[in-house]
Amino acid sequence: MEIFLQQLVNGVVLGSIYALVALGYTLVYGIMGLINFAHGDVVMLGAMVTLAVVHLLSGSGLPGPMVAAIGVLAAIPACMMTGFLIERIAYRPLRSAPRLAPLITAIGVSMLLQNLAMMVWGREYLSFPQLLPAATYPIGGASISFIQIIIIVSSSLMMAGLSYLVKKTRLGNAMRATSQNPEVSALLGVNVNSIISVTFIIGSALAAVAGMMVSAYYGIAHYDMGFILGLKAFTAAVLGGIGNIEGAMVGGLLLGVIESMGAGYLGTLTGGAMGSNYQDVFAFFVLIVVLIFRPSGLLGERIGERP
């Protein structure tokens, strides 16, 4: 029971991060039917920029949490700008091209970002210093650390903020309209190009925070960390129903919990033959199962709707 509770806590933390990243995939897919495979690398960039700022401030004597906050506040605009430029330079010229073209371009952009990051930050694993208090708190036999609480609380706040934005604001109305019918939205006065830009910018801001969280949580950053993370978040988005915002949130949390439970029990279930290092397999197992049995995802209805 303790293991269960502990893995649940760990899974929710991991799932919160997946959800933030999955939202970036789902927002862009919802607006323009494109899978932005470079999104995971924007997450990596968020981690790297945060880390660079943290190193810069290492001798400053500022308290750790403040250093972390300044780091992420620098990473957010850097990622927003990157997301904006990716769309403008790589995707917009291909807006009316066959769908395979932007998909291949997306993979190209992903490789470009990874290679740039490798040139700037090297190929070694970089360690992310411990900036937050190492305190842990007991909950019902398990324990939750300070950073875990921060991750859960701040990602919940961001997701609530995003839901509000999409459902209740003028910008959100335009986003929802554009995702359903860009041509008619334009006729009603929506500047579809700006809405697409804003969508990339919002997704990238969430990615920046997720990148900071994941590297602070695991204490590590690497130029290709965005690849697997991106793939898992994409899985989460598909699990929830790609294009569906609540779906990305639910899918992210669910995938985090599934993975974490798998890691916790796999050794016991297989009599030690498989350990928690098989954790990554779960995400892709889930992806395959979803694609076979419910390709539109848990909350989705959109796949196949676009021409």
């Binding site: 335009a174 929802r176 359903q180 019918n181 008619v184 006729l187 009603l188 006065g189 500047n191």
Partner: protein
């Protein structure tokens, strides 16, 4: 000065010439029909004026100003609205959300009042205001599409086949409402395959065939024209 003046308009899709040099004009307050068979180029003409489909050559003057270089999202502010073929609703949004999107370009205080007016015009929609638009019947969807366009307070309204796919009784209902709207002095270009009903409520009409305007006359004259009778009125 004409409200809308199209001269020698050419539009093509990847080399397929859909509109081949048409002239068409609308005076303020007029209701004009544009009739023609499927594939004649009617919708393409409307889309070209609205800036959705690129114009190959020709001029489009709205209030005397060439609007070809104005992006589509800026045209609604100038007073041009389109009720698109097939209605173009936001199917997963509610009826009310659809109607409110019609006023997206407006910043004035009159939006709530106008919404009430739309509900007065279409009491059915008031009952269904919280329902997803995609779940409505064809006639109700057409009402939403029309209501949404009116929410922009247009000066020039394009209607692209409002009768398409509707039961005869619904067609009567929709056209009754179009008459009501027209009586407010709004300028309307009515595109229809149902030539009879379109000509019966417009002052003038154009007949389009294979991308060209082949006839243009008073609607009453077109209704009596033997060619029109044979080709479009089934007589």
């Amino acid at each position: 000065m004409n409200l809308l003046e199209i001269s020698d308009l050419h539009v093509s899709y990847d080399g397929i010439k859909a509109v081949r040099g048409i002239d068409l004009s609308l005076e303020e307050g007029e209701i004009v029909s544009l009739i023609g068979a499927n594939g004649a180029g009617k919708s393409t003409t409307l889309k070209a004026v609205c800036g959705i489909t690129p114009v190959h050559s020709g001029s489009i003057l709205f209030e005397g100003e060439d609007i070809r270089s104005i992006p589509p999202h800026m045209l609604v502010k100038r007073g041009i609205s389109l009720v698109p073929e097939g209605r173009g609703l936001f199917g997963r949004s509610t009826v009310e959300e659809n109607l409110k999107m019609g006023a997206y370009s407006r910043r004035d205080k009159g939006i709530a009042d106008d919404l009430e007016k739309i509900y007065a015009l279409f009491p059915r929609l008031l009952e269904r205001r919280s329902q997803a638009a995609g779940t409505l019947s064809g006639g109700e969807q057409q009402m939403v599409s029309l209501g949404r366009a009116l929410m922009a307070r247009p000066r020039l309204l394009f209607l692209d086949e409002p009768s398409m796919g509707l039961a005869p009784i619904m067609v009567q209902k929709i056209f009754e409402i179009i008459r009501t709207v027209a009586s407010t002095g709004m300028t309307i270009l009515l595109v229809e395959q149902n030539a009879k009903i379109a000509l019966s409520m417009s002052q003038r009409g154009y007949v389009m065939e294979s991308g060209k305007i082949t006839l243009s006359d008073a609607s009453s004259a077109l209704l009596e024209n033997p060619q029109v009778k044979a080709a479009y009125l089934g007589q």
